[in-house]
């Protein structure tokens, strides 16, 4: 499944992704537009939970990278083929 197909397979995926991108980029105007679109599409409670999820995954990376934790075995197994295809393990620090 392509990235675009994955986004489109989730209800309002494109609108949610626009907010994620806008919050990451930090532009005030883009964030305002994206916030309004999410609130219109999914409602205010869902907008708040969307922001909470963005906050969670912006934060947890600090623990993962700051402490240098490895993938669990089950995750490593599940991603073995993909990692081999990308040769991503060559970039371990």
């Amino acid at each position: 499944m392509t990235d675009e197909a994955a986004v489109n397979s989730v209800p309002h995926g494109e609108i949610l992704m626009a907010l994620v991108q806008a919050v990451h980029d930090g532009g005030a105007e883009a964030m305002a537009v994206a916030r309004r679109a999410v609130r219109v599409a999914v409602g205010d409670a869902a907008f708040v939970d969307t922001c909470a999820t963005i906050a969670s995954f912006s934060a947890v990376v600090k623990i993962a990278d700051g402490a240098g934790i490895p993938l669990e075995d089950y995750k490593e197994e599940a991603t073995r083929d993909l990692r081999a295809e990308l040769s991503i393990d060559d970039f371990q620090s």
């Binding site: 994955a6 986004v7 397979s9 989730v10 209800p11 309002h12 995926g13 949610l16 992704m17 907010l19 994620v20 991108q21 919050v23 990451h24 930090g26 964030m31 305002a32 916030r35 999914v42 409602g43 205010d44 409670a45 869902a46 907008f47 708040v48 939970d49 969307t50 922001c51 909470a52 999820t53 963005i54 906050a55 969670s56 995954f57 912006s58 934060a59 947890v60 990376v61 600090k62 623990i63 993962a64 990278d65 700051g66 402490a67 240098g68 934790i69 490895p70 993938l71 669990e72 991503i88 620090s93």
Partner: protein, 250 residues
């Protein structure tokens, strides 16, 4: 549901999320395990300031960030190794190496930073990032840092902690001693829960907030129920894209 005011409009927020946001702020200002409340707030202020640090911007743009020398733009009188740690975790966490962490905690170019203090810095930055990003997403200005709460750090290092999982020492569930705070029964014991377990209170501090921002461990794969106003699929799509943008592949 409770209500929060954003730009003159009242938005609904789960009471449990609103509560843990307040708990998170209170813990940031309180004495920690290795840093005082004033020091924890200085770390938080330094973390916010790091985003405009010119040296960090040069390192972020560099192919080899560890070859770019210079001094950080700093707002605090924290030890140099603490400032280096804060700035790197905030601005370029995805390229942190074990060698860099060891150079901080063993000393060399600058006086050593205790490993426990480094790990507590991670926890403080993680909580602050969660709180600030929530505000940013909602459209609220960053909350002013409050006054510190007086008191001494508890300074209790888990005796069973070992460096055998991550770049820093961690406390395995089977090594938790009777004197150690034990976050694993409540939050789970996956590697991410063990990341800052050298300072067990920091596991509570982060995950008490995070399970309300995201989901409790047992809710993540419970696809029979939706626990939020957005669906599991929507949550995981947001999570995946946010992680990718932050360069997190854990």
């Amino acid at each position: 549901m409770t209500k929060i005011e954003v730009a003159g409009e009242m938005l609904p927020m789960r009471e449990s999320l609103a509560r843990e946001v307040e708990v998170g702020w209170n813990r940031l200002t309180s004495p920690g395990t290795w840093w005082s409340g004033a020091e924890r707030l200085a770390i938080a202020a330094e973390a916010r300031h790091a985003k405009t640090c010119k040296l960090c911007q040069q390192r972020k743009a560099a192919l080899s960030p560890y070859t770019v020398p210079g001094e950080h733009d700093s707002t605090s009188d924290l030890p140099p190794a603490a400032i280096e740690a804060i700035h790197r975790i905030v601005t370029d966490a995805g390229r942190i190496t074990e060698h860099w962490i060891l150079s901080l905690i063993e000393g060399g170019e600058m006086p050593a930073l205790e490993e426990t203090k480094y790990v507590e810095i991670i926890g403080i930055i993680a909580v602050l990032t969660g709180l600030d990003k929530l505000h940013q997403g909602l459209g609220l200005a960053p909350r002013d840092l409050p006054a510190p709460i007086a008191g001494e750090p508890s300074r209790q290092r888990p005796l069973g902690a070992k460096r055998n999982l991550a770049y820093v020492a961690t406390l395995a569930p089977e090594d938790v001693g009777p004197e150690d705070p034990n976050p694993y029964p409540l939050h789970g014991d996956k590697n991410i829960h063990r990341g800052v377990s050298l300072v067990p209170q920091e596991v509570f501090n982060f995950f008490d907030l995070d399970v309300e921002l995201y989901l409790k461990d047992h809710e993540i794969r419970d696809f029979e129920h939706d626990f939020r106003a957005i669906s599991h699929a929507q949550i995981e799509l947001i999570a995946g894209r946010t992680s990718a943008l932050n360069g997190c592949y854990y």
